[in-house]
Amino acid sequence: MYVAVKGGERAIENAHRLLANARRGDQSVAEVSLDQISEQLGLAVDRVMSEGSLYDRELAALAIKQARGDLIEAIFLVRAFRATLPRFGASEPVDTGAMRVQRRVSSTFKDIPGGQILGPTFDYTHRLLDPSLAQGFVPEAPAVGEASTAPTPRVTDILGRDGLIETSPQAEDGASVGDLTREPLNFPADRDLRLQNLARGDEGFLLAMGYSTQRGYGRNHPFAGEIRFGEVEVEFAAEDVGFAVPLGSIELTECQMVNQFKGSATEAPCFTRGYGLAFGQSERKTMSMALVDRALRARELGEEVGAPAQDEEFVLSHSDNVQATGFVEHLKLPHYVDFQSELGLLRKLRKEFAEASAEANAPDAMKEAAE
Amino acid sequence: MTTIAELPPGFVDKVLSAQSTFRSVMDAMARPGSVQRIVPMAGTPDTMMRGTAAIALTLFDHDTPLWLDARMSESSDVLKWLKFHTGAPVVPDSSIAAFALIGDGGALPSLERFALGTNEYPDRSTTLIIQVDSLDAGRSFELRGPGIDGVATLLASIKPFDLFERLRFNETLFPRGIDVVLVADDAVVAIPRSTRVMSKGG
């Protein structure tokens, strides 16, 4: 007797037990600790915090461990947790100009006030696999110098003093900042929401979109005005206290692109901006984000809109890897009801096609016979 | 002057009371003309009925601008209670309100003064919550439309007397329009914009 498949609940439980074993791997190998992930896979933690939009190294490390190193899965875990957290309000805007800079490079000027600081970077490493890292590697102590007290103004501010770059539009005092996790995104979207979407967006997607602008699909002549990475203070203005309370410091990467100038009969020409910001050290992400931000400003700046990266609805609707992976992977779920429906229709259409062909051929056959 | 400690309380069990109240309102909206009862009770400030208070605690928060008619806003207790328990901002401009609380239907402003939504976003409209005398006695009305199996009959004693005539503008405005929730003590009846109401035999 045929019996419909049962026992799905057992199957799920067993699958998850198997997953737990696969995650742990060979138990004779030492288990990886959250500290180890946080300290030694720091850039993975930074990415999970950025795209998970939750600044918590420990939870991000846990998510990476739980996700067996699948970063999109880890981002998903962090997001799902974040969605359950109560919301007290928005912090004061952080001042990246006052960042305690660990790394800072500009491609637009040879030297800048506060200096170019290479910091910890893969740049100029030769990509040769290093067998000495395989085990027991103890790095040479870092070079130490006098801490500089010189201010490190943002390069775009230097350009801005001479009016060479557009001013960053200032929000009205008390204006609320959009939050696409609290209000559904509508199009056209304002820049605050676009930037939030990009900051949460998939690094790979933004990289490809940014790259496409460089190859001519919506070219916007970018110069890396400045990329800086370091610590900034976060403050929260509590209504009942009456002043801003420091919450602590976080690590951020900021990229300001200096782009193709605009101008008109009534407006002096000046450079335009693209902006990128992410938690931790996330240079590829912020540079890509800045390129895409600038591309999405095409309409606002009166440029022709045609390239994929300039298409706001396209970019913002497809940037989120948690949404994307869910929908792509949902094809794994049973669809046999729809498939049966298609199958039935297809069989019917094929039958009718065969009948029609037979009919069409029949008179020919008779004609031939008559000849 | 009432202090916060003296304000009438909210729901005893916030989670389950809100759920139960919502189901009553949802059923009312899904079955226009049917009288639904609000079971969970909360404290009621001044002019506010039990049903109104429960709906406020269930649906209002920081994201829902509120407009109050003169009868509702004349009581500082109502204002304080709403602010304390829901956090909803009270706005003077009825055309941006998500909800309007009407204590005195006789003085209901022209319906055009509320948000009617747009054809693109007809959901961006004001929901009117009107306190009425009775939802089980009074004039007889016939209701037709989605949610109603043929015809529904409603007995109600309401102000303004011409409320349903005024709501006929929903027919031409649709999908824009105004949804109304009538409250009499713990009884609730909804008249969504898709409902057509006729007075029965005068």
């Binding site: 609805e313 992976t325 046999y336 009801v337 229709l345 019917k348 | 949802m26 649906l59």
Partner: protein
């Protein structure tokens, strides 16, 4: 570490309020897709997050919940969602369509007629019926605003010109209350007539696309068609092999590598109920293979 603590039915109260307001608007404007601030759920987008959020916003301790996927209570995703609510809301669950007060579904409408004290919650992947004709939401929103649905009719007509039939077998578009064209979610068109004048409230949740829409009870729902090409629900040639039902939607089961097939009800609760009531199909008494052998031996 910030150890998580979860609310009744998982969602926090502020989120429930937001969803509840959207549901009320959806009921008031039948077939219109209300945007809502869909939350990240602890299950992937595309796996029922919209339906789960709608269910979480309406569910109370007195409810009895049924969850089906492809018509069956025992498919893995249905089990997973049912367990989620049993755990987070402690509600009673059932596989019986009749006993349930809230039914969450993916891809089917139960065969058993629904009654007035029920809510049917659909999981919706793409809520926009015009999406595959015009991908831009700015455009489709305008079309809905103007009730400009010519594009849809052109598409259906092109099908007829090419195939002789409207070549849409599931997610077959409907018009609700003579105003909005609506996507019924990817249910087979076989189920479309069940939506019309249904005594139960029907709610649709699309989590990834952040939309909620509704069909109030007793509302007219018409499948789009043409006078000379009227809507035809899909029909099967044979009754269910297990319960002999002649008017249910059937799954095709491939039974061996020789191309043998059997057809059985996709609605497992309906099928089991009929069998318990003494209805037996051609293959319900003996394993299919034995039957087939008997047939070849005889």
């Amino acid at each position: 570490m910030n150890a998580p603590a979860y609310n009744f039915a998982y969602l926090d109260e502020q989120t429930k309020r937001m969803i509840r307001r959207a549901i009320l608007k959806a009921i008031a404007i039948p077939g219109y897709q209300v945007p809502f601030a869909s939350r990240e759920m602890p299950m992937p987008y595309g796996w029922g997050t919209g339906g789960v959020q709608v269910t979480a916003a309406i569910l109370g301790p007195q409810d009895v919940l049924k969850v089906i996927d492809q018509g069956s209570d025992d498919t893995t995703n249905a089990i997973s969602i049912r367990k989620f609510f049993a755990k987070t809301a402690g509600v009673a669950t059932t596989t019986s369509t009749d006993e349930a007060t809230v039914i969450q579904t993916r891809h089917r409408i139960p065969e058993t007629s629904l009654h007035a004290n029920q809510v049917l919650v659909y999981q919706v992947p793409i809520p926009e019926p015009l999406r595959f004709l015009e991908p831009r939401e700015t455009e489709t929103r305008r079309m809905h605003a103007l009730a400009e649905y010519g594009l849809m009719h052109v598409k259906l007509y092109e099908d007829i010109a090419r195939f002789g039939h409207i070549a849409t077998a599931y997610a077959y578009p409907v018009k609700v209350n003579a105003r909005y064209v609506m996507d019924p979610s990817p249910t087979p068109k076989f189920d479309n007539p069940k939506m019309d004048n249904c005594p139960a409230l029907q709610l649709f949740g699309a989590g990834r696309e952040k939309r909620i829409y509704a069909i109030p009870p007793y509302t007219q729902v018409v499948s789009l068609d043409f006078e000379d090409h009227p809507f035809e629900p899909y029909r099967f040639n044979a009754p269910c092999a297990l319960c002999a039902a002649e008017n249910s939607y059937l799954d095709e089961i491939v039974t061996d590598d020789q191309g043998s097939r059997m057809f059985v009800c996709s609605d497992t609760d309906y099928c089991e109920g009929r069998q318990a009531a003494g209805h037996h199909g051609a293959l319900s008494a003996a394993p299919y293979k034995d039957k087939a052998q008997e047939a070849s031996n005889g």
